[in-house]
């Protein structure tokens, strides 16, 4: 509007070079280059690095299978859970894995609504991470009930046990609905995003089987603009629905704790604090995965240092929220005047598990503060190491909340010291096997970058940009 109104002799000067933002795709890579580069990961011979990662991952996944069979056949007693710590590694790992998933939904949904165009380079891999992390998480609640063959009692299925139904006042029931909805909607959102890219793969396919399978799952996508119009609306709605969903899932997970009467759990700060922690840990995992992948898959022009930089800033922001929550928990424990509440928190800091508490503080509060420095955000090695520390810290946060709160309850006769068994440890290692097996299969068979979305944010895609074909003095 404004440009058309100006006389043609007046030109708007571009901003000075130092104010110019780094481009989202470096080196002015064209639209065709993007499909070629991303599809190259799925085409050609399977690279050696892939096998080197896949074989151990598959081995650990088999270990998971063995541990689950052992646990089901012998009983839940093979885990270290015992009075008074009745929730141990099962729930720690459940909350940890499901929290990791949250960054994927934040990137795919919330950043979409906020029009953060940089998300396009990382959202596909982050969404895949979400789905696989939720799969790992789901194993634990399904198994920790002890008798897995009764898991169907969790769902309101008409049954022959008289009219017996789930009890919907329990946050544990809410969790069933929250987590299963989260998994389903994340998978739908991921698939909707994949449809145009599956069509890219179909149109490039050389072998019959690839043509058939990519063609089948692309649903006959042609890139019609009449289709894009409905597609973009559906995508926007899915983003709009996933946003309250992701905020509700970890809030409901936190209610599993907060609704109980236990000091250390019975806290109103839990829902927002859990959501921030989940996003914090999820960004840690996204960085852990993408920092090496952008190098291995030669995608440094798509996942640029600007992307790494921005994700470090999100990690810093959410890490600071988590640090604030830790401080506020202590303040409220003192301010409440409840001696049990005060004891629970002092016990965290100086009790028998103080080592766990201080690992948590170190990794979650101090480590992310290093991201204030640009030199650190722009050093991939340091970012990679810090992102792993963030994941460790967030695992210990769940350990602190669950084990430290449970191990010394109201009566000293109920005090004990929780130790995991070898089955706990092997099951947890096994979930990494499952996660990485799924992730590697994803890398090899599906586009790890949202090709059509990244194309859409390049200057070549903008009909009003000279690179997109706009002529000077055109009527737009």
């Amino acid at each position: 509007m404004s440009e058309a109104a100006l006389p043609s002799s007046i030109k708007i000067a571009p901003p000075p070079a130092e104010l110019e933002r780094e481009p989202l795709v470096r080196n002015q890579r064209g639209i065709g280059w993007l499909s070629d580069q991303v599809a190259a990961i799925m085409e050609g011979k399977t690279p050696t690095w892939w096998w080197m990662a896949f074989v151990p991952s598959f081995g650990f996944m088999s270990l998971l299978g063995a541990m689950l069979i052992y646990q089901i056949s012998v009983g839940v007693g093979v885990w270290g859970n015992n009075h008074p710590v009745m929730w141990g590694w099962d729930i720690i790992n459940f909350v940890w894995w499901i929290g990791i998933g949250h960054a994927g939904t934040l990137i795919s949904a919330i950043l979409f609504l906020l029009r953060q165009k940089w998300r396009t380079a990382v959202n596909r891999a982050a969404e895949a991470m979400t789905i696989f992390a939720v799969m790992c998480a789901g194993i634990y609640p399904a198994l920790h009930v002890g008798r897995v063959w009764f898991d169907w009692w969790l769902f309101p299925i008409p049954n022959s046990n008289g009219p017996v139904w789930p009890q919907f006042r329990s946050p544990l029931m809410w969790d069933v609905f929250a987590v299963s909805t989260y998994f389903t909607v994340s998978a739908l959102f991921w698939y909707v995003g994949l449809i145009p890219d599956l069509a890219v793969m179909r149109d490039r396919a050389k072998t019959t089987i690839r043509k058939f399978l990519y063609g089948l799952f692309a649903l006959g996508w042609t890139g019609s603009n009449r289709h894009w119009s409905n597609y973009e609306k559906a995508y926007l709605i899915l983003a709009g629905l996933s946003t309250p969903l992701v905020l509700s899932v970890h809030s409901i997970v936190s209610l599993d704790f907060a609704v109980s009467q236990l000091p250390g759990w019975h806290t109103t700060i839990f829902p927002p604090y859990f959501v921030a922690g989940a996003i914090f840990s999820g960004f840690g995992m996204v960085l852990t995965l993408l920092v090496p992948l952008r190098k291995i898959c030669k995608l440094e022009d798509v996942i640029t240092m600007r992307h790494i930089d921005v994700m470090c800033k999100v990690t810093l922001a959410t890490g600071s929220i988590v640090g604030y929550a830790y401080g506020m928990e202590f303040f409220i424990a003192w301010y409440s005047g409840s001696p049990y509440e005060r004891f629970a928190f002092i016990n965290r800091a100086i009790g028998p598990y103080a080592w766990g508490y201080w690992i948590m503080i170190g990794c979650n509060v101090l480590v992310p503060q290093l991201f204030w420095w640009k030199a650190i955000r722009r050093n991939v090695w340091i970012v990679f190491i810090l992102s792993i520390l963030v994941n460790i810290g967030m695992w210990f946060e769940r350990f602190v909340i669950i084990v430290i709160s449970l191990h010394r309850e109201f009566l000293p006769s109920n005090w004990s010291y929780f130790k995991p068994t070898w089955v706990d440890i092997c099951t947890f290692l096994g979930t990494f096997g499952l996660f990485f097996t799924m992730f590697l299969l994803f890398l090899r068979f599906l586009p790890m970058i949202a090709i059509s979305e990244v194309k859409g944010v390049t200057p070549q895609a903008d009909p009003h940009h000279p690179l997109g074909g706009a002529k000077e003095g055109g009527h737009h």
């Binding site: 909805t181 006959g220 009449r226 059509s452």
Partner: protein, 179 residues
């Protein structure tokens, strides 16, 4: 070619988003109805250039979400207050507060299914056969080229007029596509 091959439409190929957008504006203004633009990514502003109205996917999602919420509330009311009344902590048999979280999740679940299936329904997908998908150059529509198709089924269809319109819209290639 056999005589049974009928023409599906005229396909024009463009190199840049700006070119195809200007072409779309011309085709829109010429009053065609059965035509479409095929691009590797959604081009911002193309809906206006083609004269497409706002998508109706939202209604499908809304109906899905409303169904989810109602179903959730009714299910919890029926199971915990009617079919097998369950006293928990002396509270009322049914209260909307405790029933809210599962109903909220069901709202999102069915709303998301509504958005997906609404989109597929409006786009008439899955459609695994399409005349364009057979065309030699059309595979580039998902790569880096931009296509415009006017179907023979259009009431204003006239091969010579359309060729003239498309050729002066800056396109390099105009071809016939068979059914």
């Amino acid at each position: 070619m056999t005589s049974s091959a009928r023409a599906y439409g005229i396909l024009a190929e463009y190199d840049t988003p700006a070119d195809i957008m200007h072409a779309a504006e011309k085709v829109r203004d010429a009053g065609f109805r059965r035509w479409d633009v095929f691009t590797p990514f959604p081009i911002h502003g193309m809906d206006q250039a083609m004269g497409i109205k706002n998508s109706r996917v939202g209604w499908f999602s809304f109906v899905g979400g409303a169904t989810g919420y109602t179903l959730g509330m009714l299910m919890i009311w029926f199971t915990n207050a009617i079919d097998y009344p369950l006293i928990v902590g002396g509270k009322p048999m049914f209260s909307p507060h405790a029933a809210f979280p599962p109903s909220y999740e069901l709202t999102i679940l069915l709303g998301a299914f509504g958005a997906l299936f609404g989109m597929l329904f409006l786009n008439k997908l899955p459609r695994l056969y399409h005349p364009l998908l057979k065309h030699r150059r059309f595979a580039l529509a998902t790569h880096d080229k931009y296509f415009l198709v006017i179907e023979t089924a259009d009431p204003k269809y006239s091969e010579s007029d359309i060729r003239q319109l498309l050729e002066c819209s800056g396109c390099k290639r105009v071809e016939m596509v068979e059914e």
